[in-house]
């Protein structure tokens, strides 16, 4: 009994040590510039930049293959932050990629929804829950407002509504804005 426990623990410990060594030996350093660019991008995964998500766009920016003005959800603030990070001049948003819009969230009209699951397949962040022939709904906290669920809907029951602030995203109005009122 004791031999069994001891020997299995010992073997497990040896494997653990070996894997720890391998993890150090074969470590992959991810490019810090890509990580920083990715942190600035809004993570909507909307694809309006013509890349299949925020991370691929961040990789393209870091390698100099794409300009910094292709992200409508990030808007002017995002472009300015990218310009500061990379030390380049800020560019105006490329109109081919879309226009900057206020943060929105998808809302499914649950009376009209037929439960076809097409929007679930389109959602890049899995923010829609539902099952075939059953009503779907959007998890507002997860929704990035990317509009990708609108085209596939056969009954046009999804609307983009302005995101109302919740406990996490609400903040005091800025002093300048308050003074102007």
């Amino acid at each position: 009994m004791l031999t069994a426990i001891l020997s299995i623990s010992l073997v497990g410990m040896l494997f653990g040590l070996g894997l720890g060594w391998a993890a150090r030996r074969f470590r992959v350093d991810s490019d810090p510039v890509v990580d920083q660019v990715d942190a600035i991008l809004p993570q909507t995964q909307c694809g309006q930049c013509n890349f299949p998500g925020c991370r691929p766009y961040a990789e393209a920016i870091a390698s100099g293959e794409a300009p910094i003005n292709q992200c409508p959800p990030g808007g002017e603030d995002g472009i300015r932050a990218l310009a500061d990070l990379l030390g380049v001049e800020p560019l105006p948003l490329n109109p081919d990629n879309g226009e900057e819009a206020a943060p929105a969230v998808a809302l499914i009209d649950e009376q009209t929804c037929i439960g076809c699951t097409l929007c679930i397949q389109a959602c890049p962040v899995d923010a829609i829950v539902g099952a075939p022939k059953l009503m779907h709904t959007v998890i507002a906290a997860e929704c990035t407002g990317c509009d990708l669920c609108l085209p596939p809907c056969p009954v046009d029951c999804i609307d983009m509504v302005p995101r109302s602030p919740d406990e996490d995203s609400w903040s005091w109005p800025r002093p300048a804005a308050a003074g102007r009122r």
């Binding site: 020997s7 299995i8 073997v11 494997f15 070996g18 391998a22 993890a23 074969f26 992959v28």
Partner: protein, 193 residues
């Protein structure tokens, strides 16, 4: 020498782990959608299976048998397999990040591929020596790869084929797998180990 050749022929064709013994069906259905993914999975499984079959033989021969702990074989083999898979994952992330992304969740799931544990346990049952164990593992994974790659090539063609609507997707894949298993029955009696 002849027995080593027999082991190879037997595991690759006559006693193919997927189509005759029905082990490792999860990755067989899961990763066969794309040809590249199937090739990557076969290579990864080949590496894991050969390495884990050898190291579980060594563990069994030099630790479990001398201490009289044969009853712990399953537990300790799972430990070995998990460690080898983890090692493969680390290695692959460095050598081939693209393949790492293509395989995704199926790479750590090699751990639960029952063919891997099956080979380790059958090695003990059939009392193979080190070289035979290695060959048995290598042959099993070659057979797995052969079947997986040819199946994925067929599935890529099926994706373009005009399949009746109720058979699309998983049903036609399962029917194809069944037909392949029938074809592999033709190898029965080619080699007995």
């Amino acid at each position: 020498m002849e027995s080593y050749l027999l082991i190879l022929v037997s595991t690759v064709l006559a006693n193919n782990f997927v189509l005759v013994r029905f082990l490792g069906l999860c990755p067989f259905m899961g990763v066969s959608g794309k040809f590249e993914g199937a090739v990557g999975m076969s290579v990864a499984t080949m590496f894991v299976l050969t390495l884990s079959s050898m190291s579980s033989y060594l563990l069994n021969e030099y630790l479990l048998i001398p201490l009289g702990l044969e009853y712990l074989a399953t537990l300790s083999f799972i430990l070995v397999i998990a460690a080898v898979v983890q090692f493969t994952e680390l290695l692959m992330r460095q050598t081939s990040p693209l393949l790492y992304r293509v395989l995704g969740i199926f790479l750590p799931l090699i751990t639960s591929n029952c063919a891997v544990l099956g080979v380790a346990l059958l090695n003990v049952q059939e009392q193979h020596n080190l070289l035979q164990s290695a060959l048995y593992g290598f042959g099993a994974s070659t057979g797995f790869g052969l079947v997986l790659i040819s199946f994925s090539a067929m599935r890529e063609r099926l994706a373009d084929a005009d399949v009746p609507i109720h058979f699309r997707g998983a049903p036609i894949a399962l029917v194809t797998a069944g037909l392949m298993a029938l074809a592999f029955m033709g190898f029965t009696g080619l080699a007995r180990v």
